[in-house]
């Protein structure tokens, strides 16, 4: 980003963005905020930075977006650079503060708008910009080619097929009930995640498919403030789902992917009515239904006996509405469950959201400082296992585990379900029937 700091600011463009967003909501929020400071205590950045008032949510939008409007877009690089630190380095757009403001001011939306302004001037974290390049070229954040992706799928099909007879990873199956979409980190770094999902779908005898394109569910462009690109990313997925005629899009255990696909994506992509063209479900919901309906049964002898706690990812719980499903699912899998406080829709962000994890080393120190709250929350439960159905939470809690010596193991639902489910005989490979 440093080289763009020299370029002149295109104030015309900034004004254009500000005007386009200058609707009734932002006008109202900016004008009625009573500067009461109630939102401060709700933000984990504020709480973990010695209650420095500059970390309060109201201060953050007041010194960024509100200032942009006040100056009618006539801002300089220095100002944008200051905004950069605040809107990416001090807010994960977790939306907790909106629940604590008497007016319900949606601060995260305003921070996101400020991100869009900065992004238009090339002021954006390098880590996110790199993923934007990849999204543009390949449609996924990792820059993975379709061939590599399909190879990974068939490799996983082969490998997991040895453990589960009849397992397939269908690609582009028309009219399937679920089109399963991923986080590109999975095929890239954790291909076994695809294998595990395939096992779960197989045992549940689900009518599912993966898709050769539009399989990427993450949308870091949304966090980079690049709304046009964010729209393109979800469009790839929606259009593929429509083309295949699938009934639902199922999202892997990733929080922001769900927020993007189910809630914000239709707006980025300009779909009237604000609804995606195909229903979107998150894995937490889907897996819970499998267990609830008995399509997957858990072996009581294999249930987790160590104390377990559940990380409510902001974009699965507060911004996704699935906090109860997450708990009910956990109840099937673990004997000793312990709540963090606060929890459910009031839970604190882990500190890895809003693009923080891919923003990389430049932001790591802040991420560890703000994550202290999560670390304390986890420690207080005495849990040895943290279930985190979100890739960013997963990575962040692993980092916190090291930083704060929490001595916990972080697991996804997929991992636990695969370890504990009863595999019906028909899927068990015949002993000694080694084909090779």
């Amino acid at each position: 980003m440093n080289d763009v700091l020299e370029k002149p600011v295109d104030t015309h463009k900034i004004r254009e963005i500000l005007n386009a967003n200058d609707g009734a909501r932002i006008k109202t929020w900016l004008s009625i905020c009573s500067r009461c400071g109630l939102c401060a205590e709700s933000c984990f950045f504020y709480l973990t930075n010695n209650r420095d008032p500059r970390f309060s949510p109201a201060y953050k939008f007041k010194s960024t977006l509100a200032e942009m409007y006040r100056r009618k877009g006539n801002v300089d690089r220095d100002f944008l650079r200051k905004c950069y630190d605040i809107i990416w380095g001090e807010c994960t757009t977790c939306r907790r503060c909106s629940m604590y403001c008497p007016f319900g001011i949606d601060i995260a939306t305003m921070i996101s708008t400020a991100r869009t302004v900065c992004q238009s001037q090339g002021v954006v974290p390098d880590g996110l910009e790199r993923t934007s390049v990849n999204y543009r070229e390949t449609g996924n954040q990792m820059g993975m080619s379709t061939d590599d992706f399909l190879d990974t799928c068939s490799w996983m099909e082969e490998e997991t097929g040895e453990e589960l007879t009849g397992l397939t990873i269908p690609i582009d199956k028309k009219g399937a009930k679920y089109m399963y979409c991923l986080n590109a980190r999975e095929p890239m770094y954790y291909p076994q995640d695809i294998g595990m999902a395939a096992k779960i779908f197989t045992v549940a005898e689900e009518d599912w498919t993966m898709s050769s394109t539009g399989w990427e569910a993450t949308n870091l462009a949304m966090y980079a403030g690049d709304r046009a690109l964010a729209g393109q990313v979800v469009k790839n997925m929606y259009e593929k789902a429509v083309e295949l005629g699938v009934q639902n899009i199922a999202i892997t255990e990733c929080g922001h992917a769900f927020r993007s696909a189910a809630f914000e994506g239709p707006y980025f992509a300009g779909y009237a009515g604000g609804k995606p063209p195909v229903a979107v479900v998150h894995s937490v919901q889907l897996f819970y239904e499998y267990l609830r309906d008995g399509r997957i049964k858990i072996d009581p002898d294999k249930m987790l006996t160590e104390p377990v706690t559940y990380q409510d990812p902001c974009n699965v719980s507060r911004n996704g509405g699935l906090w109860e499903e997450g708990r009910k699912l956990t109840a099937f899998l673990a004997k000793d469950f312990r709540e963090m406080t606060p929890n459910r829709e009031h839970n604190h962000c882990c500190g890895g959201g809003g693009g923080f994890i891919p923003m990389g080393p430049e932001f790591k120190k802040r991420r560890m400082i703000s994550g202290r709250l999560k670390a304390d929350q986890i420690r207080a439960t005495g849990a040895k296992i943290v279930i985190a159905p979100c890739h960013n939470c997963y990575d962040q809690i692993n980092d916190l585990n090291k930083e704060y010596n929490l001595g916990v193991k972080v697991l996804s639902f997929k991992e636990i379900i695969c370890e504990t489910m009863i595999v019906p005989d028909k899927f068990k490979p015949v002993e000694g029937d080694d084909e090779e």
Binding site: G23, R35, Y267
Partner: protein, 219 residues
């Protein structure tokens, strides 16, 4: 001075009320029009039950987690708002004036009650003012305009109280009282104080957004 007084409780009173009500209506109408064009998200997911609950829980004391976390502030905050609303509306002297000027009146409270409420108001006023100055997370947000507006709500109470108890020059105090009260009415639609009406809209929206779309409570 008598001319000034007559002007203030005559034409100026009318102007103040017209600007107050008209200003609020215009502001709401303008925002409504704008929202139809630029804030489709409000209407796409409108859900009245969640909207109403989102408002209701913030209208009752300690009705939200946020308020329960700050119990003393909440108490003061409610006393401030209730008195600010009730005393001017239900004061006997005001009702006589409403009757004279507009030909309508509301139920009145006794002067003793009004006195107590005024003192309660002033206590909460001092609390809020002190909080603004002392608490870093509030101070950092506060501008000169915030102090001005807060003072503007306090002045009519102080002057009215003193005038009623005949402390100082009655006529001067009364004139100041009416003048500042009218000023306050005129300022409301054009400042953050418009929250007396916009509160309902912003709360309804966040109710739709969190509750209607996700089942999450914003209280």
């Amino acid at each position: 001075m008598d001319d000034l007084y007559a002007f203030l409780i005559g034409p100026a009173l009318w102007v103040a009320f017209i600007v107050f009500l008209g200003g609020l209506c215009l502001r709401v109408a303008f925002l409504y029009g704008l929202s139809k064009d630029r804030d489709k998200v409000i209407y796409n997911h409108a859900d009245m039950s969640w909207g109403v609950r989102s408002i209701f829980h913030w209208l009752i004391p300690w009705g939200s987690v946020s308020m329960r976390n700050q119990p003393v502030f909440t108490l003061m905050f409610f006393l401030f708002h209730i008195c600010l609303f009730a005393v001017p509306l239900f004061l006997l002297a005001h009702n006589m004036m409403w009757q004279e000027a507009f030909g309508i009146s509301l139920p009145s409270m006794s002067d003793g009650t009004a006195d107590i409420l005024t003192i309660v108001f002033l206590v909460s006023f001092v609390f809020l003012l002190a909080r603004r100055m002392v608490r870093p997370e509030v101070r950092i947000l506060t501008t000169a305009w915030d102090y001005t507006l807060l003072l503007l709500t306090g002045i009519p109470f102080v002057t009215g109280f003193l005038a009623y108890h005949q402390v100082g020059d009655y006529k001067t105090l009364l004139i100041l009282h009416i003048l500042f009260a009218e000023l306050l009415l005129i300022v409301i639609p054009f400042s953050k104080l418009a929250h007396i009406i916009l509160f309902f809209f912003s709360r309804a929206f966040i109710g739709f957004e969190f509750g209607g779309r996700r089942g999450a409570r914003t209280w």
